[in-house]
């Protein structure tokens, strides 16, 4: 029996929807894996970082603020669930306002908005807060670490980590150099 135009349309629509859904799901999985990698790197560097006592009180939890990506926050929560970092509990908070940055020890800006990036970094400036970003502007504006997903090879994600040494120095944070080496952290390329 020949298909009617309506039927064909409906089938095409269904196919498109299915394709969209499939593509969306695929993108979601890829994004999830990427943030999982980034969460691991963040957790590794946090473990190797020493905060001034004035910033991180005794028995105080390490507070990680995630700005922009709820997935990233979720992955960080998964990574720290039931674990202690440096003998402390880890609290992951999804930030909604820059005012919340003050109580954080780590800030992950999972955004591409330069204006917001500047706003966040202006908030952390002069404060020993370990900052992670995803755009090249992040380190230029005062951020310390840049997490960039490189092009995938053979379906695998490759995460590259850059550090802006001057910004790290200014932050008064001490990071175990071995951790930076192990994390294959590279200096931010000068352009």
């Amino acid at each position: 029996m020949p298909l009617s135009a309506h039927c064909i349309w409906r089938q095409t629509a269904c196919f498109v929807v299915a394709a969209v859904l499939a593509i969306s799901a695929s993108m979601g999985r890829a994004q999830s894996a990427e943030y999982q990698q980034k969460a691991a790197v963040i957790m590794g560097i946090v473990r190797a970082t020493e905060w001034p006592a004035s910033k991180l009180k005794a028995d105080a939890p390490i507070v990680i603020g995630v700005y922009g990506s709820e997935i990233a926050a979720d992955k960080l929560r998964e990574s720290t669930a039931g674990r202690l970092l440096r003998g402390r509990t880890v609290v992951v908070k999804l930030l909604t306002a820059t005012q919340e940055i003050e109580g954080c020890h780590v800030v992950f800006a999972s955004i591409s908005d330069d204006a917001m990036t500047r706003k966040i970094l202006s908030q952390t400036k002069g404060d020993p807060i370990l900052t992670f970003g995803e755009t090249a502007e992040f380190t230029k504006k005062g951020g310390i670490f840049l997490l960039q997903s490189a092009s995938a090879q053979a379906g695998a994600l490759a995460l590259r980590t850059f550090v802006e040494g001057d910004n790290l120095k200014r932050s008064k944070l001490k990071i175990d150099e071995e951790a930076l080496i192990s994390a294959r952290v590279q200096p931010v390329p000068k352009r």
């Binding site: 957790m43 190797a48 674990r83 202690l84 440096r86 175990d176 071995e178 951790a179 192990s182 294959r184």
Partner: protein, 535 residues
């Protein structure tokens, strides 16, 4: 060579070397033990600290799952050759990184809290990999302890041997030089002692080199030698004196022997003379009697009668018949002839007695001449003949002293003896017995002469009297030279007799039950066994 007999220089060197050796061995042993102890301790500490250092660097590698970095970190073990391998294992037991080969079972269960484990020659350091209290895995570092210890042991042994050898050589060289300080004076002292001992020259003195004990010893030795020298001189003088006295004694002894011989001869001569004197008394009596008989006036009367007859030669008949004196002449002549016949008979008797006595004198002199002639000649003699001759030579004296002689001859074997000496001894003993009996004058003086076999091969002639006897104390010295109990004795008669008996291979013995109980003197002479051979 025995160490005790070794020279003192060798002993000192041996003591020094032994002391040094033992001290060095002890020191080396202690040092070795300490070094080994500290090496072991340091080695374990080194392995632990190295492993801890590595473990402290490994967490980020595990955190970031950077195995290459972990391997790079483990490669740092290469700076120490004794690290033979290392392994990083994550908490879930998965090998994360490795350095070289790991040829031991690192997963062998170990007590909790153990950080070092020995596996044969290997030492395994087990170090947790953790950061800020979070344990990420375990680092196993394996070090070859045995090889290192063996190398160290060989090194220490070589050093010890070297040090010991060099030290002993140095000690030997030094002891050769320094030992002279100790042994030099001693060796010189020993040389002086040897020289003195070899030459008996007590004028030598040891040279004192120092004021230490050896010096004091040298002084004492010199003083001792000086005293010895004095004593030696005194001793030499005394020996010379003794030798002189000995010579004098020998001379005196010879003189005494000669005197004894002479005395013996005198005794024999006295006996002979006494016997001859006794006989001469009889001769004298007989001669006197004959003289008296011949000197009586009868011959004068006969001469007057003959002269009277010569004067009446012309009318002899008338005279004999008518003259009163002439008538008495025939009777007178008849009586005269009877008297002369009787006197002749008496004279004949006396002359016969005189002849006998002269024969006796001849016999005595002849016997003495026989003894004198055979002096010094050993003969086989019948002992009873000797005894009888001795008795004959003393019979007058024995008779005069009313001594009864009893003979007990139970042995007829001949003896070997010098006749003269044996007779002299027997006469001497008989005369002694006579004197002994004279001193107490028993009711009956009995002199027993016994000949018997005293011991195998010996014949004893015993002279037994019941005289004064001999005190026990005197029995042991009665044959000593100069000993006598008689006032007129000279004390060498028995001594000489004993010597003479010894010269003949015999001996003289004496026995007495005590004073007043008589005495027995025995002359034992070798018996002639067979074919005239003396024992």
């Amino acid at each position: 060579m025995n160490l005790h007999d070794a020279p003192i220089r060798s002993k000192i060197r041996f003591v020094i070397l032994m002391t040094c050796s033992l001290a060095l061995l002890f020191a080396c042993g202690v040092l070795f033990a300490f070094q080994f102890y500290f090496f072991r301790k340091d080695f374990r500490s080194d392995v632990s600290s190295f492993a801890a250092t590595l473990a402290s660097r490994l967490p980020p590698s595990i955190d970031f799952e950077n195995k290459e970095r972990a391997t790079e970190i483990l490669a740092g073990l290469g700076v120490k050759p004794h690290f033979t391998g290392a392994l990083v294992v994550t908490n879930d037991g998965v090998e994360f990184a490795r350095y070289r080969t790991v040829n031991i079972d690192i997963f062998k269960p170990i007590p909790a809290g153990t950080t070092l484990r020995e596996e044969g020659q290997y030492l395994v350091s087990i170090e947790p990999i953790q950061t800020r209290g979070d344990r990420l895995g375990t680092l196993y570092v394996i070090a070859d302890y045995g090889t290192q210890a063996s190398r160290l042991q060989n090194l220490y042994l070589a050093i010890s041997c070297g040090v010991l050898t060099v030290s002993l050589l140095v000690a030997l060289l030094i002891s050769r030089k320094l030992a002279t300080v100790v042994t030099g004076p001693l060796e010189q002292l020993a040389a002086t002692v040897g020289e003195i001992a070899g030459s008996n020259d007590y004028s030598l003195r040891a040279d004192k080199k120092s004021d230490d004990e050896v010096g004091q010893f040298t002084d004492s030795f010199n003083e001792m030698i000086e005293r010895i020298q004095g004593r030696d001189a005194a001793l030499r003088h005394e020996i010379a004196e003794r030798e002189r006295a000995e010579r004098e004694l020998q001379s005196l002894h010879a003189q005494l022997i000669t005197a004894s011989h002479q005395a013996g001869m005198a005794e024999v001569a006295t006996g002979v003379l006494h016997n001859v004197g006794n006989v001469l008394n009889s001769v004298n009596v007989s001669a006197t009697l004959v003289t008296d008989k011949l000197s009586i006036h009868r011959l004068n009367n006969l001469v007057r009668t003959a002269e009277m007859l010569r004067d009446k030669n012309g009318d002899l008949g008338e005279f004999l018949l008518n003259d009163p004196k002439g008538k008495l002449i025939p009777g007178y002549l008849c009586n005269l002839s009877k008297h002369l016949a009787a006197e002749r008979q008496e004279a004949l008797v006396e002359l016969e007695l005189l002849t006998k006595n002269i024969e006796h004198i001849k016999e005595i002199v002849s016997m003495q001449q026989n003894y004198a002639r055979v002096a010094g000649i050993v003969e086989n003699l019948p002992p009873e003949a000797l005894v009888e001759d001795a008795l004959r030579m003393t019979t007058g004296s024995l008779q005069r002293h009313h001594i009864e002689v009893v003979r007990e001859y139970t042995c007829s074997a001949h003896v070997t003896a010098e006749r003269h000496k044996a007779l002299q001894i027997l006469v001497n003993m008989i005369r002694n017995s006579k004197h002994a009996m004279d001193e107490v004058s028993p009711s009956t003086k009995i002199l027993k002469l016994r000949i018997h076999e005293s011991a195998p091969g010996f014949v004893a002639i015993s002279i037994i009297d019941n005289g004064v006897g001999i005190a026990p104390d005197n029995l042991t010295k009665i044959f000593s030279h100069g000993f006598t109990t008689r006032k007129d004795g000279h004390g060498f008669g028995l001594h000489s007799a004993a010597l003479a008996a010894q010269q003949m291979g015999g001996r003289i013995s004496v026995h007495s039950d005590g004073e007043g109980l008589g005495a027995t003197f025995s002359l034992e002479l070798p018996m002639v066994q067979a074919e005239g051979a003396a024992v």
